[in-house]
Symmetry: C2
Subunit: 399 residues, 2 copies
Amino acid sequence: MTAVPLPLGFSACGVTCGVKDPSSPKKDVALFVSDRPCAAAGVFTTNLVCGAPVKVTRGRLPRSTARAILINSGNSNACTGEQGLADAEAMTAAAAGLIGCDKLDVLVASTGVIGRFLPMDRIQNGIAKAYTALAATADGLHDAALAMMTTDTVPKLSTRTIKLSGTTVRVTGVCKGAAMIAPNMATMLCAILTDADLKSDDAAACIRLAVQDSFNCISVDGHESTSDSVMLLANGAAGVGPGSPADLEAFQTALNEVAQELAMAIIQDAEGAHHFVQIDVVGCRTREEAFKIAESVANSALVKTAICGADPNWGRIVSAAGYAGVPLREEEVSLVMNGYPLYENGRPLPFDAAAVSQSLRDHREVTIGLTLSHGSAHVRYWTSDLTKEYVELNADYTT
Amino acid sequence: MTAVPLPLGFSACGVTCGVKDPSSPKKDVALFVSDRPCAAAGVFTTNLVCGAPVKVTRGRLPRSTARAILINSGNSNACTGEQGLADAEAMTAAAAGLIGCDKLDVLVASTGVIGRFLPMDRIQNGIAKAYTALAATADGLHDAALAMMTTDTVPKLSTRTIKLSGTTVRVTGVCKGAAMIAPNMATMLCAILTDADLKSDDAAACIRLAVQDSFNCISVDGHESTSDSVMLLANGAAGVGPGSPADLEAFQTALNEVAQELAMAIIQDAEGAHHFVQIDVVGCRTREEAFKIAESVANSALVKTAICGADPNWGRIVSAAGYAGVPLREEEVSLVMNGYPLYENGRPLPFDAAAVSQSLRDHREVTIGLTLSHGSAHVRYWTSDLTKEYVELNADYTT
């Protein structure tokens, strides 16, 4: 794969410490360190049952002096009470001790089995090993991406390079996807690094905007995880920041693109999926209404199984829009699937069902376009189909 | 099966007219007629994309002079525009002509493939055939239940007999379940008949209450249909009604029990299901909060696949409660599954996972008890697990 560049002033690595499996070579600790203080911001799960690292990290953001992001996979630190909070704090303290910073300047995330305490001896060992690895191979970004994976089948990285006031700035992100190992649940984690110079408030505003049109517009099964975290570190090592409105727009666009590419990679790698589904809802009164309709369609088991079966089932799509909680009349709705108009202004259109079905079988990527006649607001949303393999992966047959 | 009695003054039948398949003996027209005017009320889908019969029937209720309910299966009359409305009106007119009543006194429902116009010649023929059948066999309730089925595997009937002021009163219901034939979607239809004497406003209040704790507390896949209809006819042929508060309570209880038994029968017959899941959420501030939590758990694909796999995955259940939109802290939540305490006041309990898993494999019926420490409101909710068979049934492989 093409090497994804680390922004200036950052180092990253992924190492093995045996959290996933003491006898496995699978990497399970990722560390991202900046050689100077960073503006840092994050967006986290809104699930009220959330992991200890979410509680610890959320409380530290936004800040202007962050130095590192520490992530382990193989064992999430959720539903673990006071001990879990102490462990998350201890992880940040251990990394901070090696880096030489305040523990509050280390952000932390954990993903994997829930309801089990972290094996802190192995984790401590992993943190020490990671810090050593950083010196040996500063650019271990790919290893870091591997160390974040649970049931992901591929590491997920994305990058953009832009010019701000004539100077090159890099935005690079890695993430892991919505995937589960029993007794676990869907979790997505993402770290985005940039050498642009940002104030922490701007970092917070930028990451919130980027998440809105990326990670908040994807769904595999609608089950909101306890650990979802997206964190941004901006260390200013490039020597410039988005000073002008045009520069800010360029930076935001790059950040949005990295976030969207990673979000789409999560859906591309969704468990058991045969199809990657892009849903465009246009012509709405507000983005919120467009979002509600897209989410309702994306989360319908009937829509998702129909796509799995290459069935151009417009009725399931239109009816999912009908219960989205958005005022609408059938006559205001039209639907196009893979370029085929199926439904227009409340009436089913005659169409070649065999041809549309063949198109669904021939293309892993499916497009659904829902057009309303309410206004000009729109949203783009990504989901996967629902397959027997998904059920198999998540039914976790213990026999 | 035990014969389910028709309330006095009612006749019912189910006949074959070839809507499902011209060459099949499958019944597809059901007719329920009262020999005198009925108080009538109904509860319908809240999906804004709804079938023509829903629009027609909803507009006629509540009323005090209804005479009949006419239902066809094999072809729903949804997404069919003006023609669909005309067809639904024509169905009621045809039945009314034979019965000798105003067409407004005939309620109508259709279930089956959507987006196709009804084959009105066959339907008209079916209505005539049904009216003739009523004279031949007044008690064709079982046939009527058969004629409502789509992919249901068994007809669904329930009855209760109570005494009001010393006189026997019957409440009998039939329904079809949430099941689909592509390109169709989940639809439930229910007709409940009673010979109690009710005012139409009371009928409306009673059916609304009964639906609240039955059909509104079930979910197979969370996809709200275009045609869901529950209709109650009360013809007073028993000569008594619920005059006193105690009688009203007795009547409401009987109605609730019939509705619950039918709702549970729908889940028992849910497509591809291996498990019938009863979720009790107790200790909430309000019923609405309990309901939100139960619904969130019931609709989680991760919870449903875990149950399919006999996996006592408390994390998925607790986290589904966490994103239900109800303010809560982990420490306020406890969970019992099939009688095994798994999670208490925010902490996972040590438990014999093999034993709980074996219990899930050994019992088709699964109980989930979620206890909060907020108050005394509670709800009971029923759902099914998510299996590979569900995906297969709904993916409608066209190859």
